[in-house]
Symmetry: C2
Subunit: 403 residues, 2 copies
C-alpha cells in the first residue's frame, strides 16, 4: 500500500470562472437560464454551444474487472476512474466525470449508459469484464450519437498495432506473410484481432490462445460470443497445437496473465528469425524481457515504463478524446482505430526507429496533438465529423492541449 497516501487528497475539483452573487444570479439561474433551455429545445445541436457537454466525457465502469483485482464493485472502482479522469484532465484539458455503475447484464448496461449519456460529449468505458464488454461496446457504438471508446479494447489495440507496424518495418517483414500468435484472447487481443484483419493480416495465419490452448473452429464453447466465434472460425485453419503454433511464428502478442513464466521459453526458441515478442501483462510481463533478448528475440515490447517500448494505452486516449470532441465525431469505428495506429506508428518513425524504439513515449512532445489530429483525419475520412471546419478543429485542439 505504498501508493495509498497519494490518493488521500482529492485529485479533482470543479471550479467556475463566474463570480456568482445575488446581483447576477438571475442571469445564470432562474429566470435567465430559461433562455438557453428554450433555445436548445428548439435547436438540439446547440447543446454543444451552451453547456459543457462539448468538453465533457463520462469515464464509466461497473467495477467488474478493475486492474488485476477482479470484480471489486463500483465503490472500489472509483479511484481508478478518478485516475483516468485526472489523465484526461491533465493531458487533454477534458472534463472527465468518474461514473461507477451497478453490474448488470449486457442489455441493461447499454440501456443504463444510453439513459445517462445526454450530459456527455463522449463515453470512455473502463475495466468491464469480458466477454460482456464486447457487446456493450458494440451496442453503445450503434445506439449512441456520441463517441464511445473502451480503452482496454480499442486503446490497447491501437498501441499494439502501431508497435507492430514499426517492428515489422524494422525486420522487413510484410503483415500479409506474418504468422501471429495472440496469447490470451481477452478484451485487448480480440480488439487486436479486429485491427489486424482490417490492416491486412492474413487471419488464417493468426493463432489465438485462451486458457484451454490454441483456438480453432471446433471450439463451440466460444460460439455464444460473436467475436470469439469469428476468431474460432477464421484463425488457425491448420488446427495447430501449441508447439506447431509457435514454430516459425513471426510475432507473439501476449496480453494474458502476469509472468514471469506464463509462456514456456522453449516455445519462444522455435519462433522464426527476427522474432517480435510483445509481452504486455502487468505488473510482470509473461516472460522476462531480458531473457527474451538473450535468446535472440529481436524486438520486445512490454506494458511497463521501466523497459524500452512501453505499449501503454495512455498514449492514445487523451488525444483521441480531444480529437473526437473537437471534431464532434459521432463514432469511433474500428477502421478509424487502424488509421490512428498508422498515425501513431509514423510519429515514432519520424524520430528514427530502432529495436528499442518502436513506439513513442508518453511524454513525447508531439504525442497528444498527433493523436488528436490523427483521429480527426480518420473521422473526416469516414464523414463522421459533425464540425466541418478543419482549421477551426485543429486550432481548438492546439488551444486545449496548450492549456
Amino acid at each position: 500500500m505504498e501508493y495509498l497516501k497519494y490518493h488521500k487528497e482529492h485529485k479533482l475539483k470543479i471550479t467556475s470562472n463566474i463570480k456568482l452573487n445575488s446581483s447576477n444570479l438571475h442571469k445564470y439561474y432562474t429566470p435567465g437560464v430559461a433562455d438557453p433551455c428554450q433555445f436548445i429545445k428548439n435547436n438540439l445541436n446547440e447543446v454543444y454551444n451552451y453547456t459543457w457537454k462539448a468538453n465533457t466525457i463520462a469515464v464509466i465502469s461497473d467495477g467488474t474487472r478493475i486492474l488485476g483485482l477482479g470484480n471489486i464493485g463500483p465503490l472500489a472502482a472509483l479511484p481508478l476512474l478518478e485516475g483516468k479522469a485526472l489523465i484526461f484532465n491533465s493531458f487533454a484539458n477534458i472534463n472527465a466525470i468518474p461514473i461507477s455503475i451497478s453490474s448488470l447484464d449486457v442489455n441493461s448496461t447499454i440501456e443504463l449508459i444510453k439513459n445517462i449519456s445526454y450530459s456527455f460529449g463522449g463515453i470512455n468505458l473502463e475495466d468491464i469484464s469480458n466477454p460482456r464488454c464486447y457487446d456493450i461496446l458494440d451496442g453503445l457504438i450503434e445506439k449512441l450519437d456520441i463517441p464511445v471508446f473502451h480503452d482496454d479494447q480499442q486503446g490497447t489495440a491501437v498501441v499494439i498495432l502501431a508497435s507492430l507496424i514499426n517492428a515489422l518495418n524494422l525486420v522487413n517483414k510484410n503483415i500479409k506473410d506474418t504468422k501471429i500468435i495472440l496469447y490470451g484472447i481477452g478484451a485487448a487481443n480480440t480488439a487486436v484481432y479486429r485491427l489486424l484483419k482490417i490492416y491486412g493480416a492474413n487471419i488464417n495465419n493468426i493463432i489465438a490462445f485462451d486458457s484451454k490452448g490454441a483456438i480453432n473452429s471446433k471450439r463451440s464453447d466460444l460460439f455464444s460470443v460473436a467475436i470469439l466465434k469469428e476468431i474460432a472460425n477464421n484463425t488457425n485453419i491448420n488446427n495447430y497445437d501449441i508447439k506447431n503454433s509457435f514454430k516459425d511464428a513471426d510475432v507473439l502478442i501476449a496480453l494474458s496473465k502476469p509472468g514471469p513464466n506464463t509462456i514456456d521459453i522453449e516455445l519462444i526458441k522455435t519462433m522464426n528469425k527476427d522474432a517480435i515478442c510483445f509481452v504486455c501483462a502487468n505488473p510482470t510481463p509473461e516472460i522476462d524481457p531480458k531473457i527474451l533478448k538473450s535468446i535472440g528475440v529481436k524486438i520486445v515490447a512490454t506494458g511497463r515504463s521501466d523497459y524500452p517500448n512501453q505499449a501503454n494505452n495512455a498514449l492514445v486516449f487523451p488525444g483521441l478524446f480531444r480529437g473526437v470532441l473537437d471534431s464532434r465525431a459521432s463514432k469511433i469505428t474500428w477502421t478509424m482505430c487502424v488509421d490512428l495506429a498508422k498515425t501513431l506508428a509514423e510519429l515514432a518513425r519520424l524520430d528514427g526507429l530502432n529495436y528499442d524504439y518502436i513506439i513513442p513515449k508518453i511524454d513525447h512532445p508531439k504525442l497528444h496533438f498527433t493523436i488528436a489530429k490523427g483521429i480527426v483525419d480518420a473521422a473526416f475520412k469516414e464523414n463522421l465529423n459533425k464540425i466541418s471546419d478543419y482549421d477551426l478543429i485543429i486550432n481548438n485542439i492546439k488551444k486545449n492541449l496548450i492549456n
Copy 2:
C-alpha cells in the same frame, strides 16, 4: 433571449491540483491506483477518504418539467442543471455534476439513479414532473444510503414554512388555529403540506386547490397518488367550496400558475384580519403584490428578488448539501426539513422581523453556514450522521464556505 449570451461560455470546469507527468503517472494511475481500489474494496466507507465522493453530488433531471417550460427533454434541461451546479459550486464549494437522464416510469427512474449513485455523496433531484416526483423522491430516500433532496419539494417547503413561522409570529397567530389555503397542489405545496402537518398545523383546517377546485375526500381521481390521497382525505373536512375556503382564511400559500390574475382579488378580500399571502408563481406572482397590500393584506411574499420577502429555495440547497456532506448524513427526512425551517426562520428573527422582512436574503452573510449547521443539528437529532465529531464537521463547513 436576452440572457442567452451569458451561457455561451462554459460555466464549469474540472481542474486538478496535481501536476501529472510521466514520472508521477505510476502513483496516480496504474499501478499505484490499485492501492486505494484494494483498500476501499476491504473498507467500503474509506471511499469517502480516497475519492471525491465526499464532496460531490449529482444534480439530476429527466427534463420532464423544466422551469415553466414543461417537458423539454434531457438535452434542453442541461443549462438548468449547470446553473444549479454553479450555485452549489459558488456558494458551498461542492462539486455538482449535471446529469440529464431519459424520462422513464417511476420504478425505472429509481433503479437508474440507484445504479449510478456510487460516485456521489448526495443526489439533488431537479424539475421532475409531478406526481412522478413524489414516489421517485420517497423511493430514493428509502433505497439509497446517501442523502436525496428534491429542491422543488423539500427546498421550497422549507423556505415557505420558515416564512410562515415568522409571518404568524408578526401577526400573533398560532399555527394550530390557522386556516391555510394551499393553492396549486403540485410538488411544492404537497411538501408544504407534509411540513405543516409535522410542524403542528391543524390539517383539517387546510384547504388544498388543484385546477378542478377545492380538494376533498370525494376526489377519488387523486387516490392513485399516495400523498394526494392523504391530502384529499384529511384536509377540508367541511367540504368548503372556493368561496367558503377563502372566507376567514388566515394564510394563502399559492404555488400555482403565473398571474397576475390567477386568483380572484375579491376572494382575497374575504380573508381574515392580518391576512398572509404568499404568491410565489414565477415569473409573475398569482396576484400583483402591490394590489394585495393595497387591499390590506398584512404580509406578502413572492418568488421574485425585486419584491420584499423572496421565498427562494436557493436560500436552502447550497448550505443544506454542505451540511449533509460534511456530517455524512444518510438521509434528509421530512422532520429534518421542519427543523431546518425553524433554523432559517430564526436567522431572520435575530435580525429583527417586520412585514417586509420575514425571510433572510440570499446574500445574508450567515445564511449558508446557518443552514449547514442547522441540517447537521437535525441529522444528529435523528442519528443519521455517519461522522460523529461535531466540532470537526463544523470546522469543515466553515473551511468549505470560506473558500
